[in-house]
Each structure stands twice: as C-alpha cells, then as structure tokens.
C-alpha cells in the first residue's frame, strides 16, 4: 500500500491549499493511514478488463446551441466578495513586477 507518512500529509496539505496546525498534521496522518489502508481492499478485485465509470448515465459531451442570453449583472456576481473594487475581485500580487 502507499506509504502515508508525515511528508505525504504535508505534501497533500500543500496541494490542497490547507495550512494545517501541528495537531491537525498528526491527527490526519493517523487517520489517513487507517482510511487509505482500508481503500487497499479494492485490490482484491481484478479490474483489468473493466472500463471506468464516471457518469452513472454514461452521458458524454452534452451540447446545446450557442445562444446568447443575459448573464448575471456584475454587481450581483461580486456581491459576496470579501475584498473588491467596483468591478473586480482583489487579491495579493501574484506576479512580482520587479
């Protein structure tokens, strides 16, 4: 089974964008080892010739005509933003201009 150790948990937390506390990292390491260990039960099944099922009805590539209809007004779309200008969300600088 996959080795779940502290380094794994820290890596997954980083990918998940979750800043976990020391207590959380320890607790989740224990719990993830148990739960992911349980997932290994699926290795009992031979799935070599089985197609993966992601949509229960087997729908693929649903299309409709490209009709222009009104979108939500901008002020409504921004109405819950914690930090905003009149027409945009505000975030810290992403790319350092220097």
């Amino acid at each position: 089974m996959a080795t779940i150790d502290r380094a794994t948990v820290e890596h997954v937390a980083k990918l998940s964008r979750l800043a976990l506390s020391e207590d959380e990292l320890q607790l989740f390491e224990e719990q993830l080892v148990r739960i992911i260990g349980y997932f290994d039960k699926l290795n009992e099944l031979n799935t070599d010739d089985v197609e993966p099922l992601s949509h229960p009805l087997g729908l693929r590539n649903v299309f409709r005509g490209d009709q222009v209809v009104p979108s939500a007004p901008r002020h409504e779309a921004l109405s819950n933003a914690p930090d905003r200008t009149d027409d945009a969300y505000k975030v810290p600088v992403v790319v350092d201009p220097s």
Partner: protein, 488 residues
C-alpha cells in the same frame, strides 16, 4: 379544526382549495410550531418567516381573485441549507460560507416557487453535506425528535428532523451517499433519492458531482410523489441531467404490488446489522409477500467494496469542487493574506471543519501524481462493477429491498471520533449513488430503544414509479408511518 401541523401536504393543499383555511393561517401555525420546538431540535439554520408570509398572502389574494394556484399552494416546505436561495443566507452549515447570500435561486427553489410552495426556512446539515449525523455542522448538531440525545442522521439531518417533528410537512434534501435516506430512516419518515440526473443540480452547492442528487422528505408517500413531480425535469443549466420526460408520479400510487418481483440481497444481512433492524426489515418483506409480491433471493456480490469505492470517488470530486473556496469570490477570507498562497491556505484552514479538511485531503491524495491509477482510476472501475451487480439484478427483479442502515439512530457523540467506523455505516445506501439508481427509505417498525427502522427499496434508473407504488402499498397495509415522536 385539526392540528394543521400533523396534516400531510396534500391534505393542507385540499383544505386551502376548499377555503377551509387560508395560506396565511397555515403559515402562522407552522411558524408557531417552529418557534415552540426548534430551540430543542435545532433543525433550522435560518428562518424565512417574511418570505413565507409574503408568499402566503400572495396565494390568498390569488384565490380571492378566482385565479389558479400551483400544486403546492398552502404547503410549507423546509429547504436544506446547501440549496441556493436568492437573498437568503445559504451556509452549507460551514463557517467558510457563514455570510454567503446567493444572488440566484437553485432550479428546484424556482420550481417550488412556481408551484406556490411556502418556504419556511433553511435546514441544518453536516458541513458541505459531508457526514452521516449532522454532527459536523459548524453550528452544532440537530437532534432526533424521537430522542433528543440521538442524531437525526445526516447529512440532511435538519430537514428530516423538521418533517418528523411537524415543523413542515415536506422538505428538500440532498443525497450523495445516503444523506436523505439514512436521516429518513433514523427519523421514521419517507426519504427519496431520485435517479441521478432526474432533478437539476443547478444551485445545489456541489459536493460530489457524479453522486449528488436532490430529493424529498415527507411523512406520506403521496406527498413524496407530489414533490418529486414538482422538482423533476431536464434543465439547460445542468448538463449532467437526463433528458427524460417526467411521468405522472401520482398515478403510481394506486397500483397494488401483486406480481412485483422484489429482490432481497443476502449481502445486506451480513455482520454489523442490529438484530431488531434485521427483524423489522424481514417482517416488511413478509408484508410484501402477503400483498402478492414475489420475494426473490438475490446476490449483489460487490457490495462489500462499496464503501472504499465511494470514499475514493466522493472525496476526489469534493476536493475538486471545494477548490473554489479560496477567500476571493465569497466566503471567509483570512486576515493573514500576505501572499496569494497564504490567502488560499489560511482562509481554507480557518473556514473548513475537520471532516471537510479530511475529505479534501483524501481526495487530493487519490488524484495526485503517482496515486491516481491505484486509487481514483481503480475506484471508477470498481464503481462499474457495483453498477454491473444491479444491471444483472434487473433481469430477475423489479426492485431491491433491504435495510437503509445497519443501526437505528445512535447517540450524539458516540461515533464521531472514528471517521472510518462512521463511513462503514453507509454500506447500504452508497451503492445507489455509485450506480445512479433511485432509492427510497420508509418507516417499517421499531428497533432498539423504540427508535425507527428504515426499509430501503431501490429500482432501475427512472423507475421511481415502482418505488412509489411499493411504498404506497406498504403504507396502506401498515401503520408505522402514522407514528409520531412525542416531543417533551
């Protein structure tokens, strides 16, 4: 006048149309009921008294003017707090959305309004619908009206408690791995999860996109059929839905079950099931046999792989769906936004509860480089095999019968410390979500300590009529559904 709060939705609607009572009178009675009991039950996160009374006044005015009203006119409805309601706070019982006010209505909310239903409030749930007891709610758990020291189940615990306690005759919930059916079982009411794609998910805050489905709570199967007829149907805003016509679900209710082939899987009576639950469910099978149904032994051989399959697929999808909670567009934003990565990581860490974090971690792990094939892809293949069990079953039977849950409602605090043990209790409900088939839970008797036992029936995709037919026949032949909890 009888106590309006104990009436079914269809009886309330009839009394309104017969002008025995006004919509405003009905609404006031239910708001009083909520005020009297919800302090103890905590089924509601947010009440919608003003909206409810405004809708009721509008309905009365239309009736006075001789105009038509919709099929749910005069009927109060409770709405799970992961369904977007324009202008009314929608929290998903999470601190990360504590003040989120949606600028739009979910499709099902629009449909309820078009049917003239009266929305009384938003109900409590496990945070982001992740849980089986409503104990992961950031606002505290709802209580089971049959025993306030026990869970009402989850994740739609608030909606189930509200209907069982007569705070509303009907409610909407959502079901990803059993989150309607299990609370219905724990609270002794009718819970229906429709076929995947039967009801539009537009406006349902997404947990697991290939598993989530909006469904119904009621005490009377006729109400279930009415409500399903209102919310079902294709929607151009949900591309994962089915383009299936909506039949007249009420027509299914009056058929008897003579000749109906009901499969009973031997895997559903394995270890872990409480003896009283097994006894009540087997007695229910005997009731169906007495009504002329044919009880057929069945095997669903991949049942034991369902929990592992489900907790890989749903967590992977959840990790992806919850990436949007980043402190930017809505929701909680950390004060510590020194750079973009900290903005995301700290907002999310501060806003999400432990179960949500745990599931995001599991899902991210299962999708991550090096593990994707062994976990996520493997789980999707196992999912196909689980669906294959049902495809084979439909050659021999029209529906599948079993317990909804291996246990009756457990005490609050009893199971929440061991996530894996709690996950294992989903064994009977998750297969329906993985296979996309409809499932209904109905009250079939008393278990340990007099707590309700739920009977589950599942059927082929889009065969909700068979479920409604069987459930209605059971309610005609038995009295369990008439039992009501005595609130202290």
């Amino acid at each position: 006048m009888p106590d309006l709060t104990t009436l079914s939705a269809h009886d309330l609607h009839r009394k309104l149309l017969d002008r025995e009572v006004t919509a405003v009178e009905i609404t006031e009675v239910f708001l009083e009921r909520i005020a009297a009991v919800d302090g103890r039950l905590q089924a509601f996160n947010t009440l919608m008294a003003d909206a409810a009374l405004a809708k009721a006044r509008d309905t009365d005015a239309r009736l006075d003017a001789g105009k038509e009203v919709g099929p749910l006119a005069g009927v109060p409805v409770a709405i799970k707090d992961n369904l977007c309601t324009r202008g009314t706070r929608t929290t998903c019982s999470s601190n990360i959305l504590g003040n989120f006010v949606p600028p739009y209505d979910a499709t099902v909310v629009e449909k309820l309004d078009a049917a003239d239903a009266i929305p009384v409030g938003k109900t409590n749930l496990d945070e982001f619908a992740m849980g089986s007891s409503t104990e992961t709610s950031a606002f505290g758990p709802s209580k089971n009206p049959w025993d306030l020291s026990r869970t009402p189940g989850g994740s739609s615990g608030g909606s189930a408690a509200a209907v069982a306690a007569c705070e509303a005759p009907i409610a909407l919930g959502s079901d990803t791995g059993g989150s309607i059916r299990q609370p219905a079982a724990f609270c002794g009411i009718v819970g229906l999860k429709p076929t995947y794609g039967r009801v539009s998910r537009y406006g349902l805050v997404a947990f697991a996109s290939s598993l989530d489905q909006i469904g119904t709570f009621a005490r009377d199967v006729r109400d279930t059929a009415m409500l399903l007829g209102v919310i079902a149907g294709a929607d151009r805003r949900d591309s994962t839905g089915a383009d299936e016509p909506v039949p007249d679900y009420l027509a299914a209710l009056d058929r008897d079950v003579a000749g109906l082939r009901i499969g009973v899987p031997n895997e559903y009576f394995a270890e872990g099931i409480e003896p009283e639950v097994e006894a009540a469910v087997r007695a229910a099978a005997d009731t169906f046999r007495g009504l002329g149904a044919e009880i057929v032994d069945l095997s669903l051989p991949h049942t034991e792989y369902g929990v592992a399959t489900y907790y890989i697929v749903c967590t992977a999808e959840a990790g992806s769906n919850l990436a949007r909670y980043d402190g930017v567009h809505y929701g909680h934003r950390t004060a510590d936004d020194v750079d973009i990565v900290n903005l995301y990581s700290r907002s999310r860490a501060e806003g999400f509860g432990a179960e949500v974090k745990r599931r995001i971690m599991l899902g991210t792990f299962a999708l991550s480089s090096g593990y994707y094939d062994a976990y996520y892809l493997k789980a999707l293949k196992c999912r196909a095999m689980i669906k294959g069990d049902f495809d084979a079953a439909w050659e021999k039977v029209d529906c599948v019968l079993g317990p909804t849950s291996p246990t009756v409602a457990f005490k609050l605090g009893e199971r929440i410390e061991d996530p894996l043990a709690l996950y294992l209790l989903d064994i009977y409900t998750i297969s329906a979500n993985l296979a996309g088939i409809p499932g209904i839970s109905i009250h079939c008797g008393a278990g340990a300590d007099g707590m309700p036992v739920g009977l589950q029936l599942m059927a082929k995709p889009f065969d909700e009529p068979t479920l409604l037919r069987a459930a209605a026949a059971f309610q005609r032949a038995t009295e369990h559904h008439k039992a009501r909890p005595e609130l202290p």
